[in-house]
Amino acid sequence: MPSSKQTLIVVGNGMVGHRLLELMVAKGALEHWNLITFCEEPRVAYDRVHLSEYFVDKTAADLTLVTPGFYQDNGIRIYVGDRIVEIDRGQQRVKSANGVEIAYDRLVLATGSYPFVPPIKGNDATGTFVYRTIEDLDAIKAYAAQSQVGVVVGGGLLGLECANALKSLGLETHVVEFAPRLMPVQLDEAAGEVLKEKIEALEVQVHTSKATTDIVSDGGRLVSMQFADETSLQTDMIVFSAGIRPRDELARDCGLQLGDRGGIVIDDACQTSDPNIYAIGECALYQGRIFGLVAPGYHMAEVASDQLLEVAAAQQFVGADMSTKLKLLGVDVASFGDNFAKTTGAKELTVADTVAGTYKKLVVNADGDRLLGGILVGDAEAYGTLLQLMQNQIALPDNPLGLLLPAGDGAAALTMDNLPDTAQVCSCNNVTKGQLCEAIQADGITDLPTLKKCTTAGTGCGGCVPLVKDILKTELKKAGIEVKNHICEHFPYSRQELYHLLRVGEIRSFDALLAQYGSGYGCEVCKPTVASMLASSWNDYVLNTPHVGLQDTNDSFLANIQKDGTYSVIPRIPGGEITPERLIVLGQIAQEFDLYTKITGGQRVVLFGARVDQLPIIWQKLVAHGFESGHAYGKALRTVKSCVGSTWCRFGVQDSTSLAIEVELRYRGLRSPHKLKSAVSGCTRECAEAQGKDFGIIATENGWNLYVCGNGGMKPQHALLLATDLDKETLIKYLDRFLVFYIRTADKLERTSTWFNKLEGGLDYLKQVIIEDSLGIAHELEAQMQHHVDTYQCEWKTTIETPEKVQRFNHFVNTDAADPSLAYVQERGQKRPATEAERVVLNQSHDAMITPAQ
């Protein structure tokens, strides 16, 4: 280790501390810095913002923020479950609870905050909790199992979220708030009242203006709480959510400057009173304020990383907008800017609809032409637009109240064009309009999921998604990309529509379809698309005269074309199982024709470098030995990979190999919008990687779990669990339905994963169609698949048995000569195509050979 590197220690591996390390790595810090972090919690950073989902459907693993391997691969030392207990600023050393002592050049405090527990008698009784970490939630859940009533102390943002959680655990739920209204920081009285009504309608009791004086226990268990007004409330458990306090104990002990009411004082560079020490996130106090949201913390991490790396034009922290939009117990609440109209001359405009239970307030400047802030309860749809109008100081329409009416002219005041490029659209991840536009233009993005993934916009609270969508739409329109999905200039229909027309009209050839629904001669886009539809509908031999000209060369020569115009040969090896005898046959054929040989990712053997005229001869031999086409050339089922399962593996619970073979044989030759890959694993260890496939099957003790729409390749995507513990018959039934449904409805060249991402209604919808047969088409889908299975033929067998078809494989129509242009060199004991430079040398002798007398 070159000791010339500086050492940075980050105390705290929460949301902000982890983000800082990610930024340091992204900005190239590893060259000059050793990065070390201490993580007090028993697990690395996780998404605290979505903590409550831990009670719904997320596991701790789902919530993690750390990309697997991030720490190891980047050589960042992380001490999980260890806490810094002392900072020696003079020596520039830290000491941990486990006794680790390390010197630092720079130190970053990212220690976050802790929940404030009001000083009430009995506040440490059994049955009292806080709501901050995964451990807190585990404890709450366990205790709730033996409780009937739960009280949340604190009617703020977190308190209401917590109340929702208690309710979802089946408790009679109460919220006790000291202030006269809910969310006193964000809402005014009228808004608080509307929110209270809405929440009480959801059977959460709200008690405002209540000061708790006593928490009473009996026999070691909590029983009730007493209030200053002499009333009381029976309860089994209490969760305190009465605000947060910065974790500044380390800073206090080593004499850093703190605020009067705590918080580590930082400047614009996020530096504390010791220039070697920075503080970021909820422990930091900037201009007298703590920022209890993640976005400002992330921004501080940006600033601190810039400062540490001394980048030119380093960002500075200038405070942050505390605007929020939330769904609390299903009620939309938003509060932004100068929500209490504290600016001089500010005017308030309110619309309250007591029937619908909505309250909306705008705060405008004295001239009434600029928006300063506002509050929305019950319907916060306008939030995104209003926030942009405020942040970018865009002129308001004459009657600003119109902005609040449903489908008002808010959109007119804010067109995506008058929004400046610098406007921050996503505050969670600090993504500007300019960055979105650039991603759309430069990367050619045309759909929302991809845009979200590439820019991270909209992946936090989700509040900005409608705006992101509008920007996408506007940009696409500007670029002249009409979002129509005609397959090409020859057919004014989408693939799905054409498929329907073709089946309903029982159209059996491209020419007939073109005559009826298209124009021109067709092209390399529509012809193979239609060929695939014809094949999956009627399953005719693809090289029959009317179809042969439609196929991509791969399909029309039943092999994969390679860069030099030769082809690869891939016989089917169902489930990846092969006898030694057959393996030897493959070896002999490869030897005889001098074919480059490789094992594919799909558990098969591929032979490269077969000339077009050799293909029928090679296949004659293969077919004679019982091999059949592997359809590696088609947009069709490729392979069903398998592990050995319970037959050999000591962990296996089902016979995965047999199932894989059966599935592969059932769907072999099935033409689809794109290639289809599958795998079967014999137990949850998943050695066959079924979750990365278009359809994957994993054995369970009770049967089979079916996963669909996964993908490896360019954009890896995990497959989704469609159904569990199926017996084989049901499994096959669901697969039949799923595959035909996909084939019928996907766009051209659309893998199952992309198809799924666009499927409205997502997994639930897919389950309804496939499992519950909500469209009433299950029978039809199964019948179409059965037709395919019944009419399957090996295309290679049919081809070699038909002399005129074999004729087509001659390289020249007028002589039996082979392609004279091919040239190879040897590498690692096999041939490979010669490079252009190598060809020049080879061809000097070669040319003389191929030039006939003139």
Partner: protein, 127 residues
Amino acid sequence: MERSMVQSTTTADVKNWITICPLDAIAPNTGVNALVGTQQVAIFRIGATDEVYATGNFDPFSKAFVMSRGILGDRQGILKVASPIYKQNFNLKTGACLDDATVTIPVYPARVVDGQVQVGTSCQVKQ
């Protein structure tokens, strides 16, 4: 050896019509490859008619002799063939690449006489 430099032949230049194969040897809407002298020539048949076109078989993008295996079609009414390797399109009548104005492949006169496909060349080629 730069094969894409091979010159096109126009009907006026034709000194010799070379018979290649019966029309039936070309399935409707497909191409075949023929050896004409030293050149590999791709011959395409439009539909089930006797309308035929001939171009060089060399694909200047992949540098492989594969044009005859491309898919036929039209773009805005211009008859074209798409290279089977990287899918660039070429005008069947002029050889101009429709996706890259700097690239052209040679074209040759082609016709059907008495059910036989013929290609015209400018040189005296022994058959």
